[in-house]
Every structure is written in C-alpha cells, then in structure tokens.
C-alpha cells in the first residue's frame, strides 16, 4: 500500500514537472497598457514616444528572455532577473555573467520602473530605454556588442517576423531593440500586494502587521516613501566599505566626493523575495538588514544624517516591521503569465 502511495506521489511529481509550457494563456492586447495605480505620482517615463502595443511588448518579452543578446548565447536578461524573485537574482549577492564571471553589484528587482528617475544602484542611467545597454555590453555580464546582437537578430526568421509585427518592417536597429525591451520592462507593474489591498479597503492588516506599519511610517518611510517605497535619493546608510570592491557608488557618476558610498534607495516592494539585500548583496535576511540600522551603522563623512545614531527599535518592533514588510509581496505580479519566460 505504502508503495502504491509512493508511486502515485511520484507520478504526480512527474506530471507537474512536465507541464507543457504551451498551455500558458496568450497575452491579450487589452492587458498590455499603461497603468498608474490610484494615488501614485506621475511616472517619469510614459509611452508617448514609444507607443505601447501587444506586438512591441511581445518582442520585448522575447528579447528579455533570449540569450541571443549575450556573446556566448548563454545568458539572457532573465538569467539574472527572475520573476519569482521580483526579477532580482535569487540567492546571489553577485550574478554570474558569461563564463561564470562575477559582477560587483547585486542585481536589482525590476518593477514599477517608470517611476524611477534613474537606474542602477548609482543612478548612472537616466532613461529606461538605454538601460539594457549596460548589461548587454558589460564584459562580466552579457559581453556582447550591439552590432553583433543586430547581426544575430537579423539572421533569425523569428525575429524578422517579430520586428515586422511590432514596427511594420524588418529593419532591426538598436533603437527598436531598446524601445521594445522598454515596453516589456516598463509594464511590469506591482501594485497588488496585501498592503495595496489594505490601502484600498479590500483587506485588513493583522494586529502585528498594523503595528509594523505604524513603526515603519515612523522609522523608515522618510526614505522608503510610500507608495513606491523609495524616495529615489542617494544615501550612505553606514555600510562598512568592502575594500576588495571599493565601490564609491554615486560618486563614480558625479565625481563629487560628497557622494562617496551613496546608493539609490531601493523600493521595498516584494522585498521578501529579493534577498540578498544591499547594493552588494551582503545581507541574506531582512533581520540582518534591520539589525544593521539598529547597531551596525559605520560612521563616515558622507553618512546620512538621519542615521548618525542608527534607528532605535526593540526586537519586538523589528519583528513587527518585518511582518509588515511581507505584506508588500505581490503574488499576482510574481506569477503573472504576461511576464513569464517564453518557451
């Protein structure tokens, strides 16, 4: 009997493993649209100069998941930006580029990008359209030249068709590639967490979540500003400097010593799923992150003045905040088939 149970269990496992990816529902034209959730500010990027269409989105989705963008055809954008991890790189402080090479910064989540005034931890990139240029050409990421990418795409029937659908003809150039990827990434909206449902009156916090939220508003929200949970400023939050990396952060972009060791405030949406944390992925748990603010702050000339004596909280308060942070998990976003890999 036990054996039979085991076998039937195995059969279930096998069946679930071999689920045909083709059964994924098709993305509808109506579902590809610009969204500004109620109460959110005006986004920095809109699609006025990049008209959003199902075909543009689909081209972008194909490119995002296609290792053809890398020099050895092995690494795609999706390799390091995984949907179940809110498009961060689960479990990796630094992602693996081609030939196992490691970068020196943690792969950030991709969500609600249109509200980002700038990209990358140091804010060096100012427009979502040119953002993929970095990872595509970086020697330790995808290590590919734009001209090679275009050459490879041009010899692919599939892409000639996808470009024709999206743009009316099969001309393939960097502008078309970038605008299509922007259509895909720019419509990755996360606004259906429990927190959002509570705000719109469709759900209620538990007592502990509510306590955590109140504490969060008091102690964290000046930088992690609602509803996007970031003020998109650059701050030195007192992380000890990793001598091996010697990452000066924002100062690399501005050349200003007053910007040394400052990094962009990340959004906390889906934070439960985006470990490890910080620009260098040094913390693996939310507890470690909050403990840093309580007792780990290293003083330096550019330390954010709000953190000069750390953030005071009891263990109970810390735990309540963590419970609240988990209400920012948006399961609908993490499992939305429109953003999933195309097989």
């Amino acid at each position: 009997m036990k054996k039979i149970l085991f076998i039937s269990f195995l059969a279930v496992v096998i069946v679930s493993c071999s689920v045909d990816p083709e059964i994924k529902p098709a993305v509808t034209a109506e579902s590809v649209k610009e969204i500004i959730p109620p109460g959110w500010p005006t986004p920095h990027y809109n699609f006025n100069n990049n008209p959003l269409t199902l075909d543009g989105f689909t081209l972008g989705r194909n490119l995002f998941y296609d290792p053809i963008l890398s020099s050895n055809n092995a690494i795609s954008c999706g390799s390091c930006h995984q949907q179940f991890a809110a498009f961060s790189n689960s479990g990796h402080d630094f992602s693996h580029g081609i030939n196992g090479l490691l970068g020196n910064r943690n792969a950030p989540a991709i969500q609600n990008l249109n509200w980002n005034p700038y990209f990358m931890h140091d804010g060096g990139i100012l427009n979502i359209e040119v953002m993929p240029l970095g990872p595509i050409t970086n020697p330790v990421e995808m290590n590919e030249s734009l001209s090679n990418v275009i050459q490879k795409l041009s010899t692919s029937n599939k892409y000639r068709q996808l470009f024709t659908k999206a743009y009316g003809n099969d001309t393939i150039n960097s502008q078309r590639i970038f605008k299509a990827i922007a259509q895909f990434m720019g419509t990755m909206y996360s606004y259906n967490s429990k927190y959002d449902n509570v705000k719109s009156g469709k759900d209620n916090f538990t007592t502990q979540e509510q306590s955590g939220y109140n504490l969060f508003v008091q102690k964290c929200a000046s930088c992690h500003k609602e509803p996007l949970f970031s003020d998109y400023n650059f701050r030195n939050i007192g992380l000890s400097v990793n001598i091996a990396l010697h990452d000066s952060g924002r100062a690399r972009i501005t050349g200003n010593p007053l910007d040394k060791y400052k990094f962009k405030t990340p959004s906390l949406r889906n934070i439960e799923k985006t470990a490890p944390y910080m620009h260098d992925g040094r913390f693996y748990t939310l507890d470690q992150c909050l403990t840093h603010y309580i007792s780990g702050i290293v003083s330096s000339p550019t330390l954010d003045p709000q953190l000069s004596s750390g953030i005071t909280m009891t263990i109970q308060e810390k735990n309540d905040i963590i419970v609240f942070l988990k209400t920012l998990t948006d399961t609908k976003f993490l499992t939305d088939y429109r953003y999933s890999e195309i097989h």
Partner: protein, 260 residues
C-alpha cells in the same frame, strides 16, 4: 480685388500643403529640397596631427611633450551647427548631429541642409552632443549607440574619443585611452566652437560651397592644459582631467578654406 483675394486663398492653400510635405518622414539624403530658396554647405574634415594627415595604427607621431604615439581610434561628434550670414542672420540647422570617425571616410564629409540662400561669414557648432539628447532615450542615426560613443555605465555620449599607443603610457599594454564625456553638472565634455571664414560662403539653391576644416589631434595635449602621456594615459570618467582635455580639444578646429 476679388481676383487677388482668390489668388491669395489659392496661394495660401498651396503654401499650407507645401508645409505639410516637409513634415513627412525624414527625406532621403541629399535629395531635392522642398523649399526653393535653401541650399547646402558641404564640410570636408581633415583630421591631422600637428599638421600631418592622420593615419590610424601605422603612423607614429610626436606629441608636444616629446612622447611618441600612434592612433588607433579617433572619433567625435559635431552637433548644433549654426551659420552666421554677413547680414547678421543666424541659421540653426534642425536635427544637426554628425558622427565623425577617422576609420570611416564617409563620415569626414558633412552636408549642412536647408540653409537659406545668403552669404555666410562664420560657423558655430558643438563638439559633442547637446545635453537634451543625452537622456532622451534610445536614439538612431548618428546618435545610435552602435557607434560605440555612448557610455553604458553612465548615461550620456562620449563626445570625443581617442585611443592609441605610446611607450610613455603607464598602462601595461602601453595604451592611451581618452573617452571624454559629460553633458551636465560641473564636468562637461561638450565644447562650443566658433570659426570665421577667410571669405564668404555663398549658399544658393543651385550652388553648394565647400568648407574645408582641419581638426588637429596634437591640440588635445597642449593648451590650455599641457599634458603628457605619462601623467594621463587613460581618461574615461568625468572629472577635472576630462574637463581639461575638453578645454584642449575645443581649440582643435581651424578653417583651411572656403571654396565657392
């Protein structure tokens, strides 16, 4: 009177329809001009080192600091071309972006378009790409990042780029690498150039004058900021060094001739 008004109405109708035509997608270059009264100015650029024609990779040159060097890459942007006429009018070319690449002879000939028929006494332009186009999203044509003149770590164009080799380089590979960018803030790579013509350039619908310019790479290392390859073999970020080099290359252009 009636006849005149009817004629005016018909004429204005024609004008409107002409105007509409000019808005249609970018015309293939350099086909007929829509507006009858405008013409072209052809610019020939000769890149040189201390007066000697620049040949990539093979030739060696001597810098002002007496360092020997060779040049592998020499590229830069020219944008926002303006022409000042003898009567004091300034013509500002729209969509005025030119990518100059020593390795591609086609890029050494620029054609300034839709210039009103006049006599012109001087030219202004930017070395580099104006600030707005640096953060306006994905661009095409001369501004396509495929030209390898767009930073991937920091939004913005490399306004001018020189790579080469010198025994005086501090790099193990003996390389010289200068990627000068920056469009805003304290350190910019964009520089304004103003050049007077020795004789007027006469632009008409049927006549295209040729402006012959020289760009001297030698000037990158002399004045106002003298530099030698041992102190600055590589400049690829934004800072005092990049700004100083931009101040130098701002002086690299001179007019050889205007041929009508």
């Amino acid at each position: 009177m009636k006849k005149i008004s009817i004629l005016l109405i018909i004429l204005s109708g024609l004008l409107v329809s002409c105007k509409k035509e000019t808005i249609t997608p970018p015309e293939p270059f350099p086909t007929s001009i829509v507006n009858d009264t405008t013409g072209f100015l052809e610019i020939h650029i000769g890149n040189v080192v201390n007066g000697a024609p620049l040949s990539l990779s093979t030739a060696t040159y001597v810098s002002a600091s007496n360092d020997t060097f060779s040049v592998d890459i020499f590229k830069y942007y020219i944008s926002n071309v303006k022409l000042v006429s003898v009567s004091g009018h300034t013509y500002t070319e729209a969509e005025s972006y030119y990518f100059v690449n020593q390795a591609d002879p086609n890029t050494l000939h620029l054609m300034v378009k839709k210039i009103p028929s006049e006599q012109y006494a001087s030219i202004n332009f930017l070395i580099g790409v104006d600030s707005v186009r640096n953060f306006s999203g994905a661009q095409s044509g001369a501004l396509d990042p495929i030209n390898d003149m767009f930073w991937d770590w920091n939004t913005g164009y490399i306004m001018a780029k020189m790579e080469g080799h010198s025994p005086q380089s501090t790099q193990l590979t003996k390389k010289l690498v200068y990627h000068i960018g920056g469009y805003g803030g304290k350190f910019k790579g964009i520089r304004q150039v103003s050049l007077s013509f020795p004789n007027n350039a006469i632009v008409t619908k049927n006549h295209t004058p040729i402006l012959s310019l020289q760009a001297d790479l030698y000037k990158w290392f002399i004045s106002p900021n003298f530099s030698d390859f041992n102190t600055a073999s590589v400049i690829t970020g934004i800072g005092n060094e990049s700004s100083a080099m931009a101040d130098n290359y701002a002086t690299m252009f001179s007019v050889i001739s205007v041929t009508n």
